[in-house]
């Protein structure tokens, strides 16, 4: 069995960690970061806000970069993402 079981509902998702028994909620930005990082494993931390900003049709400014960093931290904390 895979460690993580993921179910997406529209632009959000929920994740079950079979190792810890914890369940996590992925908000739209966090889920988009997760799927993008899976699609583009070569993507680095600086490229992530740019790619995501394009997807969400917003400016890749400092506040958006901060939101992306937070999403990245939460994915790393869950264990769904290793450092970009």
């Amino acid at each position: 069995m895979l460690r993580f079981q993921i179910k997406c509902f529209g632009d959000e998702a929920v994740v079950f960690d079979t190792a810890s028994g914890d369940t996590h909620y992925l908000a739209p930005l966090t889920y988009a970061l997760y799927t993008t990082s899976r699609k583009h494993p070569e993507m680095n931390a600086c490229e992530a806000p740019v790619k995501l900003a394009r997807m969400f049709n917003v400016a890749a400014d400092a506040s958006f970069t901060k939101l992306t960093d937070e999403a990245m931290s939460s994915l790393q904390h869950i264990g769904l993402l290793s450092r970009l």
Binding site: F9, G10, V14, F16, T18, G21, T23, Y25
Partner: protein, 310 residues
């Protein structure tokens, strides 16, 4: 044989002796009690339920509700709930004997029936689809459940939504509906057909009474229902009845945090819960008038019927 076919005297004798065997939804119970209030409650509320010979039939849960000792029969009389000889709760005043039986039965099911994912929610059915009503205390969940079942919806359960882990269907558990405080006169006024037993006062939930489940809901207690909606009701003064779509992922998170046994079920709880959410439309629901709320629910059920027919 139905419980109402037992005379009051026979019921009391059986309760005080070998116990009364009862079938409620997928569970069988054996209840023993020497207390007249418990006999009265069972007679008034469980008349339509199947009973069998308690000496011959297997029971899932053996429960007893009695006074703790001789002294407590006279001085501030109290009652104890026992399950398989163990007492999981502190004693309560004698006036709360009947609600304590209902609370105790809820506890037995939610702690042991892990063949189901058990959500703390009312659940009602119409046109083959079930509306699950999870909500914190005070949100008007039981009042709405009572209003709906008095208006043609089938009662599946007032407190415990049982999701069958194998089929994903909802198993009915149509036991009496617990009403609190202002809900009691409100439901009495709402329908002359509602039978509500005598109230117990000063409980941890305030004044509590139970409404008899409709005969038809008890008759159909072995018919499972397909989940259709997850609706979070909230009574709000002067609010028109309003359904607002809510995030499915966040609804799942609520379910994961509020189901009685989600964490015990591990990955299978996740599978069953996400499958449930996938099948249902999820809404927040504000209302102030019961009649308007029922109209809104009927519209949902009619719309589902139309789309199935199309």
């Amino acid at each position: 044989m139905k419980l109402l076919q037992l005379s009051a005297t026979d019921l009391r004798k059986q309760l005080a002796g070998p116990g009364v065997w009862l079938r409620t939804g997928p569970f069988s119970l054996k209840v023993q009690s020497k207390l007249p209030r418990v006999a009265e409650g069972l007679l008034e509320l469980y008349g339509q339920f199947e009973v069998r010979d308690p000496n011959l039939a297997f029971a899932d849960f053996h429960v007893e509700i009695n006074s703790p000792g001789l002294l407590r029969r006279w001085f501030r009389p109290q009652v104890n709930f026992s399950f398989d000889g163990e007492q999981p709760f502190k004693p309560l005043p004698l006036d709360q004997a009947y609600p304590m039986l209902e609370w105790g039965l809820n506890w037995c099911i939610s702690m042991h029936a892990h063949q189901y994912l058990i959500i703390h929610a009312g659940v009602v059915e119409k046109n083959g689809l079930a509306a699950i009503l999870p909500a914190p205390p005070g949100s008007g969940k039981s009042t709405l459940t009572a209003g709906l079942v008095l208006s043609g919806w089938r009662l599946l359960s007032d407190e415990l939504t049982l999701i069958d882990r194998k089929t994903g269907l909802i198993r009915p558990l149509p036991r009496p509906v617990s009403l609190k405080n202002e809900s009691i006169p409100l439901i009495r006024e709402f329908s002359a057909e509602a039978f509500i037993n005598r109230a117990s006062h000063d409980t941890s939930k305030g004044t509590v009474a139970h409404m008899r489940p409709p005969k038809e809901s008890v008759r159909r207690q072995h018919e499972s229902a397909r989940p259709g909606w997850m609706i979070f009701p909230k009574w709000t003064a002067d609010s028109p009845a309003t359904l607002t779509p809510r995030s499915k992922a966040q609804t799942f998170m609520f379910l994961a945090q509020n189901a009685f046994n989600y964490s015990q079920l591990g990955a299978d709880g996740f599978r069953v819960g996400t499958h449930l959410i996938e099948q249902t439309e999820c809404y927040d629901f504000q209302y102030s008038r019961l009649e308007q709320a029922i109209t809104t629910f009927n519209q949902l059920a009619d719309r589902a019927l139309d789309s199935n027919a199309a």
